[in-house]
Each structure stands twice: as structure tokens, then as C-alpha cells.
Amino acid sequence: MNTGNLLPAVAAVAVLALLLGAALGWIASILRSNPGALVERIDALLPQTQCGRCLYPGCRPYAQAIAAGEADIDRCPPGGETTVRALATLLDRPPRPLNPRYGVTLPPRVAVIDEARCIGCTRCLPACPVDAIVGASRSMHTVIAPQCTGCELCLPPCPVDCIAMVPISAPAVAAVGNARFASETA
């Protein structure tokens, strides 16, 4: 058994491995999408409620945390299972159930101010992450319903508890079904 004959082969394989490894590393560094783009793509999947239930101050910060590997994908109750699944697909991770620590998924709701009880303290105005509340000091406030994301961040600052969350009535499209299958859609 002549081990001397093996040496050139081992050397060749080692050199090859080094070269290929370097090439792979180089390609990986080129192909690594810049972190900003990844944040954008994650942010696009989040529901933009800006509710902070994930314990980040908004959807984009949460997206940044996911992109940086600091947070898991199961922290968005408003997005629910759909969002978790979409995130899992995007990031090529196994989907997982929503973490109940961060809340449960509810049907979409909007804030409604009981205008008779509102004292016009303006404390809810800066709390709204999407500026969907209009009002001025000692004047009645109101929520612009189409722009309210239902984040509930205006509830804690209100000193008179005059804000309530009401469910959005689902669009009536599904109410009318094919006549032949009245039993199925009725």
C-alpha cells in the first residue's frame, strides 16, 4: 500500500474544496438580499394594524426584528394563522401556531367614540398610530372608521372609557348564493 500515491489526489480534492467553498461564499454574499428588502417583504405580509401586540412599536419594527432573527413569526394576532403561514412560506420556515402569549385573533373591529361621554381631552389623538382620530381640546373627538385599524391603542389613554371596539359588519357578498344551492349558502 503506497500512501504516497494518495497525496496528490487528497491535495487536489482539498484545493477543489477550498476553491468551491470560496466561490460559494462569494456567491452567497452577492445573493444575500439586502436586509432592507427582506424587511419590506415581511412588512408587506403584516396586517399593518400597528397595534404593538407583538411587543414591537409597530408592524415595521416587528418586520425588522423578524428579519434580524430577534423575533419569531408567531407574534401577530391580528394577522392570525394566514399571516403566520405567509411569513413561514416567505422565510422558508415550518409554520407554527400563533403564540397565545401575544393575544388571540378576533374578527376585524373598529374603535367608536361615544361622543356624548367624550370630554375632549385629546389624549387618544397621539396614541393613534394611523392618525385616525380627529378632535381638538374640549371638543368632541371622533374616529374615522375607514382608517381605523382596530389596534385598541386609544383605549388605555381615555380617562372616561368612552371608546368601544365594535365589529365591522362583513361585506354582504356571501349572503347571496347560487339559487340551485340555496341549502349550502342559506
Binding site: Q48, G58, C59, P171, G177, A179
Partner: protein
């Protein structure tokens, strides 16, 4: 034509007698959405006095103008049942005098052309009476801009049970031909083809006689085989002209404007009598009514009154289904209180004899019958699989957008899968999803602006604080220069 079905028409009973002209309703319930999916904007307030033909609501793009079908007083504008579900309606109490609006007068259409004529048709509230209730003037205007060469009048009426267009063509062929000539002048096409299925020989004969009388050789009558759903816009255009409308396009792109024959008759009434579109012929049929008939009724006539004109419901104890439209593409009506709309061509009062109950749904066995029957050339079994798993990409890839919801696939399905209902639901979900996405984009933009503003405010406050501190320090330095100077050497 691709796919399709040959079906039993069930059309003979209403055609045994001429069209019944129903009395004007005591209370007209005029839906602001006449079937096109968009509300017209009301122009009158409760308490206003209206007459027959008074403009009561203005169209906005996807909806045509609305005119009062009766003379009387507008009671209220409120949400009531409509053939599409529920929607805002004008409730007009008739005074029984049936006075015409003073503005109603015939006009000389031959003196007008193109845009001017289209404007008059628009003001007449002419909407597609085939079912879509889309403003006819808008369609003609796009056709004119695109320079179409063919006006296609749809008298195919392929769906079982519906025969209002058949009755109209038999009795008012002259109106249809006059309407065709007016619309030719409006859209600038060279030729008008009235397409009728060959199971309506009387209608074809009447139309040919009317064409001969008017002597306009630009109008022709074409008999087509009676196959469902040949009366749908896409398949009809393909069958008559051999051109296929692109899946994301409109008929004018292939040089065709398509209008219903009922719409043509409404145009004829407008130019001849000046009467805007306030009435239509509707089929009331099925084993659930005593005397099925075609009825010419004012828009807004409650369906109860239409049924009463057919001698009422039968006493059959079997459950009745009230359906707006035919048995394949119709939609269930929750109540017979809804008012007649421009888009409602048939009220089918079906009993269990008419619509045999479906067996229980069974798994797809991949027989492919649905794909053979599909007139749009889709693969319903694949669409169904995507719809079940709520796979938006799959639905888009297999062409959900091109489904015309004709119901051929679930008619032939041996496993009794309610495919069309699933596709409708999937479409509704898709719309909801799009809406959510639109709202999310808006919320993101607003959140970004909010953050920017908060940041800018904090920055301003910090600046102000810094400025104040600097001013305070400068002020202190200026007010005690001497002590500073004297203290300096001391420290040394």
C-alpha cells in the same frame, strides 16, 4: 362554440299568451343599484313630487340614470330587499294619475349622430336589460372610440325558463330593429347583427319581416344553434364573428359592441315616445305560479304584484324557491317584496318538480366532464381544488377571473359538487382580500407619516430646548462679563 350544454328550455308555457301589461304599482320600490353593482346618486329628497319619467337619480359611470316609473310622492330612501340582496331604494307612493313629466318628448334621432345621440340615450337611463344593467350609452361610447365595425344584438336567450326576449322579439320586432338602427348611428358601426337561437322560429320570422319593412340592409338576423350559454357575451361574440375577446379586455377591442334586444326596444321607445327606461318585459314562470307569463311592468313593481298578475302562487305544498334569473345562473331571492329592476329578466318560482334536489356532494373523481362542458375553456376541477385550499395563486393561475359563472360545470358534475357556488365564494374572498390589502397599504402610509411627524416634533422640541439653554448661557455670560473677568485671574 367550446363546451356548453343542450338543455330543456321550459319556455313554452309563458309564451302561450301575449305579453301582459301590468298596471302601474301603487308603491314603487326602485333600487338605486339596478343590477350593475353600483348605486346611482339620488337627486330627490323625501316628500318630493315626481311624475312618470322624472329623473330621480343620476348614474355614476357604472350605473345609468334612474327615472320615476310612476307619478306620486317620494316617501323615503331606505335600505330594502332588492333582487341582488339588499340595497338602498327609493320608495315612491303612486297617486294613480300616472301623469307624464313635461320634459318627455320624442326626438329626431336621424338628425343626431355619435356623441350627441349617445348623450340622449344616457339621459334616457338606458341600461343593459339582459341582466347586467350596465349603462348602454357608456358601452356605445367606448365602442365609438374604439371604432367598432359590428353591433351585436343579443337575442340568444339561452338560459332555461327565461323567455322575455323571445316574447319581445315576437311582438315588438319593429322596436328591436329601430333600436338597432339608432344604436348603429350612435356607435358608428357598419353592420348590426341580431343573433337569435334557432329554437325561436317565430321571433326570427318576426325580426326578418321587420327588417324587410324598414329596408335597412345594414341590419341582419342570424340564427344560432340553441346551446347554453351561447347568450353570454364572450361566447356569443366568438360564435358570430369568430373573434375572441381577450381575457382582460372588452368587446370593443375586437370591434364589437354587444347589446341586448330588450335594450334596443327600450332605445326605440326613447326615440319614438321620449319615454326613458321605466319598464321592461320580465318572465314570471315556474310550477309555483298559476299562469306563467311574460309581463311588461314598470321598474320598481314589487315581485308580489308580478306574481299576482300571473294569478298568484299555486297551492302546491312542496317548498318553493324564489329565484331571480334562470335555473342555472339565477340567484336565490330572500323575499318577494323586492322591486323589479332593469337587470331582472326572470322570476322563477320553482318547486321541487322544477329543480330536483341535488344528491349529497361526493369527492371529485377527476372525470373531466366539467372541463369538457366549460364554455370559457377552464379546468373547473383544478379551480375547485385551489378554491378548497384557498390557494389564491392557484385560482389566478387556473383563470378564476375568466369564469362566467354559467353553471355548466356543476350541471354535469357526477359527484354533485357545487362548483359555481364555490367559485363565487372564492371570488368574494378574493375581493375581501384585495380590500384588506388596500387598507393595509393605506395604514402603512399613515403610520409612516405619523412616525415622521412624531420624530419631527421631538426633534423640534429638542432644538427648542437646546436653543433656550444656549440663549440662557449666552445671556448669563453677557450679564456678568466683569465678574467673569475678575474671577479669571483669581483662579490662576
Amino acid at each position: 362554440m367550446r363546451g356548453g350544454l343542450r338543455l330543456d328550455g321550459h319556455k313554452s308555457r309563458p309564451l302561450e299568451q301575449p305579453v301582459i301589461v301590468a298596471a302601474p304599482p301603487r308603491t314603487a320600490v326602485v333600487a338605486l343599484d339596478q343590477g350593475s353593482g353600483e348605486d346611482a346618486r339620488p337627486l330627490v329628497t323625501p316628500g318630493a313630487t315626481v311624475r312618470v319619467g322624472t329623473r330621480v337619480a343620476a348614474g355614476r359611470g357604472g350605473s345609468a340614470d334612474l327615472h320615476s316609473p310612476v307619478s306620486g310622492v317620494l316617501r323615503e330612501i331606505t335600505v330594502l330587499p332588492t333582487p341582488q340582496g339588499t340595497g338602498r331604494c327609493l320608495v315612491i307612493d303612486a297617486d294613480g294619475r300616472d301623469e307624464l313629466d313635461p320634459g318627455i318628448a320624442p326626438f329626431d334621432w336621424q338628425a343626431l349622430e355619435g356623441a350627441a345621440l349617445i348623450e340622449r340615450l344616457d339621459a334616457g337611463g338606458i341600461a343593459g336589460l339582459g341582466g347586467a344593467a350596465f349603462p348602454a350609452a357608456a358601452k356605445l361610447a367606448t365602442g365609438r372610440e374604439a371604432g367598432v365595425d359590428r353591433l351585436l344584438l343579443n337575442g340568444a336567450e339561452c338560459e332555461p325558463w327565461i323567455c322575455c326576449d323571445d316574447a319581445l322579439m315576437r311582438e315588438r320586432a319593429g322596436d328591436v330593429v329601430l333600436g338597432a338602427r339608432v344604436m348603429l348611428a350612435a356607435c358608428g358601426a357598419a353592420r348590426a347583427t341580431i343573433a337569435v337561437e334557432d329554437d325561436k322560429p317565430q321571433a326570427i320570422a318576426a325580426l326578418e319581416a321587420a327588417v324587410a319593412v324598414c329596408g335597412d340592409d345594414r341590419v341582419e338576423v342570424l340564427a344560432l344553434p340553441a346551446v347554453f350559454p351561447l347568450g353570454a357575451e364572450g361566447p356569443l361574440i366568438a360564435a358570430v364573428t369568430g373573434r375572441e375577446v381577450p381575457h382582460d379586455g372588452l368587446p370593443p377591442q375586437v370591434g364589437v359592441v354587444c347589446q341586448n334586444v330588450g335594450t334596443a326596444a327600450a332605445v326605440a321607445r326613447l326615440v319614438r315616445d321620449g319615454m326613458p327606461c321605466i319598464a321592461r318585459v320580465v318572465t314570471v314562470t315556474g310550477s309555483g305560479v298559476r299562469r306563467p307569463a311574460n309581463i311588461e311592468a314598470r321598474i320598481g313593481t314589487p315581485i308580489t304584484e308580478l306574481v299576482a298578475a300571473c294569478d298568484g302562487y299555486t297551492d302546491a305544498p312542496s317548498p318553493r324557491h324564489l329565484i331571480a334569473g334562470g335555473s342555472l345562473t339565477g340567484r336565490a331571492l330572500a323575499t318577494d317584496a323586492a322591486g323589479l329592476t332593469k337587470g331582472l329578466n326572470c322570476v322563477l318560482v320553482a318547486t321541487a318538480d322544477d329543480l330536483p334536489p341535488r344528491g349529497p356532494e361526493m369527492p371529485c373523481i377527476r372525470c373531466g366532464d366539467c372541463a369538457t362542458a366549460c364554455p370559457a375553456g377552464l379546468l373547473p376541477q383544478q379551480l375547485h381544488r385551489a378554491a378548497r385550499s384557498d390557494d389564491a395563486d392557484g385560482l389566478a393561475r387556473f383563470g378564476l377571473a375568466d369564469c362566467i359563472e354559467c353553471g355548466c360545470c356543476d350541471y354535469v358534475c357526477p359527484s354533485a359538487i357545487p362548483l359555481t357556488a364555490r367559485f363565487r365564494a372564492a371570488r368574494a374572498r378574493h375581493r375581501q382580500h384585495e380590500e384588506q390589502r388596500r387598507r393595509a397599504t393605506e395604514a402603512r402610509a399613515r403610520y409612516d407619516r405619523h412616525q415622521q411627524r412624531i420624530g419631527a416634533e421631538a426633534e423640534r422640541e429638542r432644538q427648542a430646548f437646546e436653543d433656550a439653554r444656549r440663549r440662557a448661557r449666552d445671556g448669563a455670560e453677557r450679564s456678568e462679563p466683569r465678574s467673569d473677568a475678575s474671577s479669571g485671574p483669581d483662579r490662576d
